[in-house]
Structure formats: C-alpha cells, structure tokens
Symmetry: C2
Subunit: 213 residues, 2 copies
DNA sequence: GTACATTTCAAACAGTTGTTTAAATTGACT
DNA sequence: AGTCAATTTAAACAACTGTTTGAAATGTAC
C-alpha cells in the first residue's frame, strides 16, 4: 500500500522535473524511471502509458489551480461594475503562487509544464483544456470582455492568444531568461517577479487601442 | 549538375514544410525524403547531417531577411529624433512579407520555423541568432530604447522577450488559431492580417507604464 | 568509347524508443 | 503457515531513429 503510493509519487516527481526541463517528447521513460529509481515497467503498470503519465503530471496541478481560479472568476463576475483589466489579470497571481504548496517550486514547474504542453504536443493540451475547463475559461473571457467594452470579441480572442503565447514562451524558457538577466543586468528574478512583470505588459497589450486602418 | 540542384532543392522544400508543420525533432529524415521523392541517404550526402539541414532551411530565409532588416534599422537610427514605437515595429512588416518572393507562402513558413526553432531545440536558435546577427539585433534594441526613454534597459529586455514569445507562439500555432477564428468568428485571416494585428498589441505592451510597487 | 568524378540507391548499422511478458517478490488477511 | 492479489523485476519485443557503406548509375570531358 505505502510502497505503491511511493512508486507513483516518485515517478510523478521525476517526470514533472524532466518534462519541465527538456519537454515531453524529449524525455524518455528510461530517464524518468532512472531518476525515480524504479523499474522501467512500473510507469506502464501504474499509469498505463506515457501519454497518461503526462496527463497525470498536469492534473496534479490543474486539479488544484482551476477550481481556485473558477472561484475567483465567479467572485469578480458577481460585482456589478466592470473590473479593471489589471485587476482581472492579477487574480491569477495568488492561485499560481499557491501551487508551491502542492510541491517544492510547484509554481515554476507547473508554468514550465504548461509551456511545454502547448509547444511540444501541439494541439492536445488546447483541446484538453477546453474540454475539461471550458466553463472556467468562458468566465475569464467574459471578465476580459467586460473590462474592454470597446473591443470586438474576435479582437479579444486574438489578443488573449497573443497573451497565452507570451506566458507560455516566457515560462518555457524561464531558466534561460533568468540566466541572461542575471548576466547582463545583475538581476535576480524569481518566478513571482516574472509574473508581476508580466501583468502590466499583458494588460496594456490586451487593452491596446484598435488600429485605424 | 541540374539534378544535384534539384535534389537539394526538393529536400529543402519538403523539409521546411514538414519542419514548420510538426517541428524539427518530430520530423524524420524518412518523412522528408519520402515527400521529396529522393533517396534517404541524399540528405547526409548533400547536407551532412539533420542538424545542418535544419540550419540550411533557416538560412534560406535569414540570408534574405536579416540584411534587409539591418538596412531598415540603420535608416531609422540615422534620423535624429526618436521614432514612434509602432513605426519601429512596423519596419518588420515589409521585409517579412517579401519572403513570399523567396518561396510560396514563404512568410508563413519562415515564421512557423522561427517558432519551432525557439520551442523545439531549446536555446540553440537563440545562440545562433545572437552569434550571427547580434549586430543587427543590437540596432533594433537601441531603436526601442530610444522610443521608450522612460524604461530601464532591463525592463526593455524582459518586454522584448515577452514580445518574442507572443510572435513565436502565435506563429507556431498559426494554423490552429486561423481555424478557430474561422469557426468562431467567421473570420478569414491571412498571415499579413495576423502581423498587423500584432503590432498594436506589442507596441502597447512594450511601452506599458511601469508598475508602481 | 574510355576514363573519371559526381550522384543515386538499397541495404545494413547501431542506437533509441514505448510497451509487453512472465516469473519473482512483496503485502495483507485468514 | 498458507492463500491470494498487488507489485516489482529483468528480459525481450517490434518499431523507429540518424548515419554509413559499397556498389550501381549518371554525367562530363577527352
């Protein structure tokens, strides 16, 4: 009983670390089981397949994060007047930082995994997201639309995907960017620093005035 | 003589298409030579290795684009007063669209390849870029700094990388986004439409006011 | 046509991948 | 202790990867 839990957990811990560092398809099951110090076959025994292991790794965080976000969105939606866009975006900060309770460096790991999920196995994560958390995402889109009444829905669609790209790419190359910032500007930036730098950038981009032509 | 040129070109054409669609590491040499209708060994014969083939595919576009951009940057730098940020960013539009002369759908293909290069083989493209075109990039950064005198250099560093993420991610998932836009908003958007939508978003994000705290 | 270099080709190479198998081990309960 | 299920293990599987080889074919120049 306790050994089963241990093996599963050891696999998840090693997998998320390697997945975040080098991507899903570039990480082999032998690397994972090697780092976790378990037998190769135990991945298939406990999770079925590599694909299902990837889902399990993501779910460990999504199961905590998404209900939390849903709750925050509902709260904001219940207020009568439209909310400031920066305020809407800031709602992500705390739930994301609380992922550090799930796991050591959980926030960073999850955001890197998110980046990998979108750039590695193209399309799958997008489908998975819409399918499992479509309701929650709809609430967020509604909040943004209320904050930017001047923007047509299609423009908001594009700009939210631009923003997703910013987040996902920044987090996937998080380590490289931190290193460059440290070398070129003597800056030590942690994950919450990056998140707080992102908010004004994203808010300004999403709310940008429409082009004239 | 003409057959050699033909084989090399057929390989490059098939490779760039497959690389753009499914990424570098996910594309096998057998897929490429199959689509190009050439022998498997001819890739190694003409290009040496898969890695060198990837570089050759990128170089076909970079060799045209980067000198063109360098020239535009120098022109803008020679004007005495600082340029509007949107104007600086708009400088990319024409040179990018001219890649359609290099190849059918060249602009789209190149931008997708750029996205793949940054998300697929992590870090390599960044190094390659800085090494070969560092001078040109420095000119661009200088232009942005002149446009945004209120922003410290480190902040511009982060925001330019945020912007790179937006571009790279948007272009890598270009097809998916086009499909969704078509389905949800009855929109038909071509590559130049996406580029022109990007400019105001990026300009507003980069020039966003600094957070107070 | 003969000689020579360039290019193509089928085949094999050595390595990796995710997954499966069947036997061995461990655990829990009577 | 004995029974049965849950788990671990080493080994093998088939499929795939990029690359190399040496012979066949093709092109070029005298």
């Amino acid at each position: 009983m306790t050994s089963k839990q241990n093996t599963q957990q050891k696999i998840l811990d090693a997998a998320e670390r390697l997945f975040a560092d080098t991507g899903f398809s570039a990480t082999s099951l032998r690397q994972i089981t090697g780092m976790a110090e378990v037998n190769l076959a135990s991945v298939n025994y406990h999770f079925g397949s590599k694909k299902e292991l990837i889902q399990a790794v993501l779910q460990r965080y999504l199961a905590v994060l998404m209900p939390r976000l849903d709750q925050e969105f509902s709260l904001l939606l219940s207020s009568q007047k439209p909310n400031d866009l920066s305020k809407v975006l800031s709602v992500f900060v705390e739930p994301l930082l609380e992922l550090n309770k799930v796991q050591n460096r959980g926030t960073t790991l999850f955001l890197q995994l998110l980046g990998r999920g979108y750039t590695d196995v193209q399309g799958h994560l997008r489908w998975f997201f819409n399918h499992h958390y479509g309701r929650t995402l709809d609430k967020f889109v509604l909040l943004v639309q209320q904050s930017c009444p001047a923007l047509p829905a299609s423009e908001i669609f594009w700009r939210l995907h631009f923003s997703l790209g910013t987040i996902v790419f920044t987090m996937a190359s998080n380590e490289a960017l931190k290193d460059i910032a440290a070398a070129d500007f003597n800056e030590v930036v942690e994950i919450d620093g990056v998140i707080k730098r992102l908010i004004p950038y994203l808010a300004a981009g999403i709310a940008a005035p429409l082009q004239s032509d």
